[in-house]
Symmetry: C2
Subunit: 438 residues, 2 copies
């Protein structure tokens, strides 16, 4: 017997029929002898619909009220799913974030979990029930409803799995797991069978949309094995773990898939996957004084706007005496107000010009094997050069290389690099079943 936390995104519970399919899967897991805790997102487009309605009322909804509004979506899905599981003859109880003991700070819209007290969920399991928990929501110390922001339901699931010492946290989505690249861009992308949490973190941080960064960070910190898989099929998905799988889980995985997992590790490619990201813009500050502290002052201003900077490059053109150019990338939604803040500080910073470029794309190559394998960057730059693609910025970590290209070149870049690193499968493995969940 294993304790399994299953997380279902919005596309897995888009309508009543989908809800019934999920209920049946929960019941099947339980009938196979396991304890099940379910974390569920709002149904289909519910969250977007609620946001649309709020937008019709005000362009600046108060954060507190917006959180109350949005959490209604998960209340609906969790209570309906509990009904559906009950209808299959298995007792189930639904719990709000507050009832499940998900304690957060008071940052509405992007609250951080500060404590987990899932007593009622634990009691439910002991009593032989399936516990169904609303994703994405928590309660603050002063009794306010909060939401966890993007990837919130994944985070709820992993945090619950950690607090309950679950054997695995299954993240159900609409594809069969993680792929070596986005199958919509690279049809020959392979499913990744196992991957370390560290590599997953790099992929998530650099544009791979299947799992949210915070959830993976939680999983790594608390050693929660993740299994990303499709809610539309029974196939084995991608196991994300830094420790060997619990043998009790074997029953959850089809034998063929297990065999596939035991392929010769020597043949594992050095690259786990390629992530891409179209959501960043680039700002270049031209001719800023090259004096100590001026770059610091620049990024202080940017930080005051709440923008997370991704890549930074500074270069000192030979033509401008004692002046530098600084380029950085940041989320597109932050670009406007950062540009305004910089413009307002033109005199203080003493730069000549501000350039703004929204048409950039970022490709990131991730693999633990890169650490020990020389020549990875040479192969990467060679592949891009051969495809006639210019590189704008470069940044690296121990297990990742990222390059910025023109937006229009991004897809070709992903395809070229995928092929160059021998990641192409001989047959198309990827099936995308629906939209993407929250």
């Amino acid at each position: 017997m294993a304790l399994i936390v299953q997380k279902y995104g919005g596309s897995s519970v888009a309508d009543v029929d989908a809800m019934k399919r999920v209920a049946q899967r929960v019941v099947d897991t339980r009938n196979a002898g396991h304890q099940v805790v379910v974390v569920v997102s709002a149904m289909g487009d519910t969250t977007d619909d609620l946001l649309d309605t709020a937008a019709q009322i005000t362009s600046a909804p108060p954060d507190r009220e917006l959180d109350i509004l949005l959490t209604a979506g998960e209340r609906i899905s969790m209570s309906l799913l509990a009904m559906a599981v009950n209808e299959c003859g298995v007792p189930a109880q639904a719990y709000t974030g507050a009832q499940a003991g998900i304690r957060t700070d008071t940052h509405f819209g992007k609250a951080q979990i500060v404590g987990m007290v899932p007593e009622r969920v634990a009691r439910s399991i002991r009593d032989g029930q399936v516990a169904i928990v609303a994703g994405f929501q928590g309660i603050s110390e002063d009794d306010e409803t909060t939401t966890l922001g993007r990837g919130g339901s994944d985070t709820t699931a992993v945090a619950l799995a950690a607090a309950l010492h679950a054997d695995v946290c299954e993240i159900y989505t609409d594809v069969d797991g993680l792929f070596t690249a986005d199958p919509r861009i690279v049809p020959t992308a392979r499913r990744v069978r196992t991957i370390s949490q560290e590599e997953t973190l790099e992929l998530a941080a650099h544009g791979a949309k299947i799992l949210h960064l915070r959830a993976v960070e939680f999983a790594r910190r608390y050693h929660v094995p993740l299994h990303v898989r499709s809610s539309f099929s029974d196939k084995n998905g991608t196991w994300i773990s830094d420790r060997p799988a619990n043998p009790a889980l074997a029953g959850l995985v089809p034998q063929a898939a297990l065999a596939a997992n035991q392929e010769d590790p020597m043949e594992e490619p050095i690259i786990s996957g390629i992530a891409h990201d179209r959501s960043q813009d680039k700002i270049t500050v031209v001719g800023i004084a090259n004096s100590p502290g001026m770059a610091a002052r620049l990024f202080e201003l940017v930080a005051q706007q709440g923008a997370n900077i991704d890549m930074i490059v500074q270069n000192i053109p030979v033509t401008l005496e004692n002046r530098a150019n600084i380029s950085f990338t940041l989320p597109a939604e932050d670009a406007d107000h950062v540009m305004q803040a910089l413009e307002a500080a033109r005199e203080e910073l003493g730069f000549k010009e501000l350039k703004y470029n929204p048409d950039i794309g970022k490709l990131s190559l991730v693999g633990a094997g890169m650490r020990t394998n020389p020549g990875v960057s040479a192969k990467l730059f060679g592949a891009l050069s051969q495809a006639g693609i210019n590189i704008d910025l470069i940044s690296t970590s121990e297990i990742r290389i990222s390059v910025v290209t023109k937006l229009e070149d991004l897809d070709r870049a992903v395809q070229a690099v995928h092929t160059a690193f021998g990641l192409d499968s001989t047959e198309s493995e990827a099936v995308i079943y629906g939209g993407t969940g929250r």
Copy 2:
């Protein structure tokens, strides 16, 4: 300055535009110098839609999960309304039933309020905010979400008004107040300008749909003046109170309406209004043993089915030695299982026959003036007889006479009695603006 609790039903907040209208009314009230607490129902058909979805999943949803599901509706409407009020430049905060301190017992679906601790609402008011509270919901001692059942939002509003010592509880609906009869049946019905809580209780208990019985009971017990009025107009509605209105409220009421309220009280009719009810069925137990305790046993069985009996008549036909017939009326939704329970007890009760009649209607004449005015029942029976309408059952209280007729005769009966008691207005006063709220 007065403290005013305003309750808006589902039809008053059916869509974004209606929501904005309500927000404007709230803001106008506040700008007139008053403190405002708002209780709001779910938008339009939200509750019915949620029930429909649940019905597609199971025919027997667990009560606990059904309550969590339904309360999502008020979370949506209250947070949107708070946004809309904020958008008008007045600070507003939304509170769930739990946050507003509405403590209930654990009877999901029909919870009773056992305590009111609206500290956060009181603090909001002190801080100059408009507090917006979800109607219909509360929290039990063991931290479960509960709903208050039919008329729940009215009850929330009146309970809050009582706990906060509000000067008035305004119940906004889609008609201009209480009328002497349902204007859809009697187009010449008059708006009732003032009425006692006792009379309102009788009207509500006997089919008048504008206010729920429990809310009126609460208002009477805690001396909360009610003002039932339309959210679609500025007209004065119906004041329900056993004490004179707070002079501070005068500013809320158009002067013309105030003048109308000060009409010669000598001309007040002895009858306040006529309620009608199509929701009851009749069961007749023929030939039950006329022995002590047999009727008690019969009604014990009925009570075990959770059915509230309204009218009871027992008669002893001359043809049946020592046997009686007992007829009673009960809510139509309880008729099936009560019939089954009685059928199962046929031997024990020793009756000859069970008769079931769904085609009955009930007319109730209510007026405090009836107490001291002889001849009311004679006039009632005369009017019905002249209209060729047979009376089946009769029951009376000190301020009410109810008669049961054939369902098909009910409308004509209401019209005939309305005319006979001189209630007809010379012009049509009633405007019905929309559907009915919860």
